[in-house]
């Protein structure tokens, strides 16, 4: 990996659950993110996949400083940005920008497209001299494939895909090094998704961007990512290069997730074997002891309830090397080629699996 631009370690975000109106008392916590580590290299794409409620969006918000972590650090070129405030924070923000999921709520309906894309320059006047801003805005519109003449129109006059392009242009305005994209295409139509994915691909090489690409769609994440982290209930359970994760997954959750993705090829129907997970993701207010996946895991044994597995290369793979030797937080990590993975299993649903959410 190239020199890291972002190093995240021990990242935790707990939201206290309180009772009472004036005199609040804490009755518990939502453990949205519960110890996440990763690094992001210059010009690299790190994909983070996981199902709803796994904490991936909260990670995104902490990366761009919209949420303060409860614990842990986020280092941008060695400097911990979670402790910054005021001018220093503002300076760092120029370099880490975000693209949002919903193109309908992420653009201010009262501002013209030109004002939206130009706003970064108003907030950071040092980034572009005043006389130059109009030209830059038009340039940005052109870069994301929109007619610069659109600058004085309002967002509601654009389609979802076009609005997402506007959001991307705003993210690019300050020439950041890192862009955090939280489900940037999931609200778009299939045929439009591809346009935006290709755009992001092109911009990455054109501007040397590093992406943290967060999505629930495993196919899109693979398409864009160099490395992938799989999140479950507030933690990364497995991480590695895209080949390691998608072709040699060793964590049972990753295996189940991959086997559940429908492949657009009916011939695959007969060949593939699915792992159908039983039950639901436990509530983040009531995280299982030990390994958090054990309530839905077909490999779970007593040890899993007692001891939380660390995210590391399992010792038995370390010696042999090969693509199975990557970080996996499972006591019983096992390499199974995808498609012919573990025999079809339905895991009995008990205990934690029943909670709402």
């Amino acid at each position: 990996m190239t020199e890291p631009v972002l190093e995240v370690s021990g990242l935790v975000k707990h939201y206290p659950l309180t009772r009472g109106v004036v005199f609040r008392k804490q009755v518990g916590a939502v453990r949205a993110v519960d110890g996440v580590d990763f690094t992001l290299g210059r010009g690299e794409t790190l994909g983070i996949v996981g199902e709803s409620g796994c904490g991936k969006s909260t990670v995104a918000k902490m990366l761009v400083n919209l949420e303060r972590p409860t614990a842990g650090s986020i280092r941008y070129k060695g400097e911990d940005i979670t402790r910054l405030s005021g001018r220093a924070l503002k300076a760092v923000r120029r370099n880490i920008q975000m693209v949002f999921q919903d193109p309908y709520t992420s653009l201010n309906p009262r501002m013209t497209v030109g004002d939206i894309i130009g706003e970064p320059y108003e907030i950071h006047p040092e980034a572009a001299p005043k006389g130059d801003r109009r030209r830059r805005v038009r340039e940005l519109l052109d870069v994301v494939g929109l007619d610069p003449e659109y600058a004085n129109r309002y967002p509601h006059q654009f389609s979802g895909g076009q609005r997402q392009r506007i959001g991307i242009a705003r993210g690019l305005a300050l020439r950041p090094e890192v862009i955090v994209a939280d489900e940037p295409v999931s609200a778009l139509d299939v045929s439009v998704q591809a346009q935006v994915v290709n755009l992001m691909d092109r911009l990455q090489s054109e501007f040397g961007l590093a992406y943290v690409f967060i999505a629930h769609d495993l196919s899109i994440v693979r398409h864009l990512s160099d490395r992938v982290g799989v999140m479950y209930l507030g933690r990364i359970v497995e991480t590695g290069t895209d080949t390691e994760i998608y072709e040699h997954p060793t964590h049972p959750y990753t295996q189940a997730l991959l086997s559940a993705v429908p492949v657009p090829d009916p011939r695959a129907r007969e060949r593939r074997e699915r792992i159908i997970l039983g039950g639901d993701v436990p509530s983040p207010t009531d995280v299982p002891s030990g390994c958090r996946f054990r309530t839905r895991c077909w490999k779970a044994r007593e040890r899993c309830a007692l001891e939380a597995p660390a995210l590391a290369v399992p010792a038995w793979f370390e010696a042999s090397g090969g693509p199975a030797a990557h970080d996996s937080a499972c006591h019983f990590a096992e390499a199974v080629p995808v498609g012919r993975s573990a025999p079809e299993q339905v895991v009995p649903v008990e205990g934690h699996g029943n909670g709402p959410g």
Partner: protein, 324 residues
């Protein structure tokens, strides 16, 4: 044929003019068969289903032509109270958003039991027993205890199971599922699709699956009808379509989704946007976005050409598309 839709037309009156949401759609589904209706937003796939089900909002919608023949009767000619008897008992629908489709102040057991007391005239006790049985059948663990709970106490996947249970309650011959798993996570989607397929096999029902997800279609469908701008552009057995699409729009869709199993190719996106339904381009509606488009496409609307006995394509150049 269990259900046959013939030349169905639905219009909406809007400020911008008349939108032909469904413009001459025909498709059929047999008992025990799964038909996938594939399309993006605005393609008319849901409106067609609402017209078939008889739950279209009128106004603003209006059915202006066609037939919906179900078990030998044209449903569009039935009176509303006869129609109501068909709904639920003979054909049922599953929606995307299970939470807003369930009544939040009634326990799920009561809601299921109501199907039996209202339609079958069962006693409350018997109906309740049947409700628990149904919940069991859609694999809701601890059904007896959970029957007393309210919709918000269930997770998204479990709520969708309850919706399926409601649809199945009166053992209909046809189920229409409108994006049943779109709001669900992949692992839960797999559970729900598996359950639907299994129940369909067990009960020998026909299933119309409305979706935009090419993966889900490949997984469960027997036949596909691809819709674009209110029309069917391709209709074929599922294997044929994925092997070699006979319409450039279908090809475009297949090329534009990233594949888990094929990494690294650039996505061949379809350029442009789907048309506004009040201003559908003349000739073939897809021509402004089509790589094969020629002059004839701008003027002549293509009929559904017969590609083979079981397959049709609304493209003047379907041969070229097949060979591509």
């Amino acid at each position: 044929m269990l259900l046959e839709v013939r030349d169905l037309r639905v219009e909406f009156h809007t400020r911008d003019g008349v939108a032909k949401a469904v413009d001459g759609v025909s498709y059929g589904v047999d008992a025990g068969e799964t038909l996938a209706v594939l399309g993006e937003s605005g393609s008319g796939k849901s409106v067609t289903a609402q017209a078939v089900m008889g739950i279209l909002d009128v106004p603003p919608g209006r059915i202006t032509g066609g037939e919906v023949v179900f078990r030998g009767r044209d449903l569009l000619k039935l009176k509303e109270d006869e129609r109501r008897k068909v709904r639920g008992a003979e054909m049922a629908m599953i929606f995307q958003d299970a939470l807003s489709s369930l009544n939040p102040v009634l326990s799920v057991g009561d809601q299921l039991a109501e199907m039996f007391t209202v339609h079958r005239g069962m006693s409350r006790r018997d109906a309740r027993a049947r409700a628990v049985e149904l919940m069991d059948r859609v694999r809701i663990p601890a059904a007896r205890e959970r029957a007393g709970q309210y919709p918000h106490q269930f997770s998204g996947g479990m709520r969708q199971r309850i919706m399926i249970a409601m649809a199945l309650a009166l053992e209909p011959a046809l189920i229409i599922a409108d994006e049943p798993t779109t709001a669900l996570d992949v692992t839960v989607q797999a559970q729900v699709m598996e359950l639907l397929a299994e129940l369909r096999r067990e009960l020998g029902m026909g299933l119309i699956l409305i979706t935009h997800d090419l993966g889900v279609v490949a997984d469960v469908a027997d036949r596909i009808a691809v819709m674009y701008a209110g029309r069917i552009v391709e209709s074929a057995p599922v294997h044929d379509v994925y092997k070699a699409p006979a319409h450039p729009y279908t090809r475009g869709l297949l090329d534009s989704v990233p594949r888990l199993d094929l990494k690294g190719r650039e996505l061949r996106a379809i350029k442009g946007l789907p048309p506004n339904l009040t201003r559908v381009p003349p000739g073939c509606a897809f021509h402004p976005r089509c790589p094969l488009a020629r002059d004839v496409c701008r003027t002549d609307e293509p009929p559904l050409y017969e590609v083979s006995a079981t397959r049709g394509s609304a493209c003047h150049f379907w041969r070229e598309c097949l060979d591509d």
